[in-house]
Symmetry: C4
Subunit: 124 residues, 4 copies
């Protein structure tokens, strides 16, 4: 299998929706970074988060196995510090091997509704 993707990916429009409505966990609001690693090697990702009014935070380190995907909920990131809900952010994701990254948001702030938006991230 040839290597597929890029080693650096960026999203700039992050903001985890808050609050959420509807049954958990299916309808909990989230921002998600969806990573595909088509190589044979496990990848240790390094994520840095950028903010409007503070220095970047990170790196957040996450493993994605070889020939595996991982859908990372930004809400779940707490080390080195929690990514605050409802706070605008951008994210630079780096990988030692080529990967592919898609961004997805689920917004259930309004009771009885679900809104989705997403895009391939930008391969830098």
């Amino acid at each position: 299998m040839a290597e597929i993707g890029a080693r650096t990916w960026v999203v700039s429009g992050g903001r985890v929706p808050f609050p959420s409505h509807g049954p958990e966990p299916g309808f909990t609001g989230f921002d998600q970074l969806c990573v595909l690693n088509a190589t044979d090697r496990e990848a240790e990702l390094a994520l840095d988060f950028y903010y409007e009014d503070a220095d970047p935070a990170g790196p957040y380190r996450l493993l994605v196995g070889g020939r595996r995907i991982r859908h990372i909920r930004v809400n779940d990131l707490i080390d080195p510090e929690a990514v605050l809900l409802d706070r605008p952010y951008g994210c630079v994701l780096r990988s030692p091997v080529p990967v592919v990254v898609q961004f997805l948001r689920q917004d259930t702030r309004l009771p009885g509704t679900v809104a989705l938006t997403g895009t391939m991230a930008y391969p830098a």
Copy 2:
């Protein structure tokens, strides 16, 4: 007609919504891979699906005629094995001729609502 597109395309944020609500088939939830083949030659696509916790499955083989499109509902893929609903996945699509691929999700998990999201896939 010049050839248009790429031979390898990737999405990493797949997950067919489940359950569905509303009249079928129009409101059945789906993930879709929308393929345009502007060449004169029929293309036999090969799709491989990647998971969080299992080896990749595939190839799934699908034909797209020359100068035709095909909107592939991931829900409908059953050979070599069904793509399970509500299971996170990524997909690598390969074509012997250049094609263009767009990803689309319709989510009707919540009664009385429709959510859409989509993006051009990543041309590897």
Copy 3:
């Protein structure tokens, strides 16, 4: 002003939603091709539509002035033939000068709801 964009753009996941609900024209369902022409020259676009089960139709010819945008509702295209509602399609847009193309769908098939999805088109 330097020239910006590409001369060929593609979307493969087209399907104008039908029927529509809500006040017209704001809530009429549509697929839209949004074109920006940053050059000084008027551009005569040529659009070809691809289908699952028929030969391509086109070219549809549309003008976009220099230093202008044009948001083209696919629903409105009738020459050389109407693009049928609720029919899957792909579209190849060609321009004599570089332009930028974004795809947008508004879906109001379900009463009391609005769903949106979109993406930059693929620059071939």
Copy 4:
């Protein structure tokens, strides 16, 4: 930190939704340009807006600090002239240093609903 991104970005499908429903400011409709500046240098952005029936307006000048993001609501731009609500537009964003730009729309024109759509902008 290596430089990440491009110096020119484009969206062509702009239109700030109007009117809005739901609690402000969280549910006010908007179009947003989300900029990430991973360099060490403050960037003075220059935005030009293109219309269907008028000459371009701009430049709108906005600062984004080094190692910062900025989520720009198009609704808020008033100098050199307001970007009118519900008016189709395209935007060319230029930066003296590489940045990354994502487009996001929130549409609450219909009471009791939220629709989102977005995409990475086009790096020219």
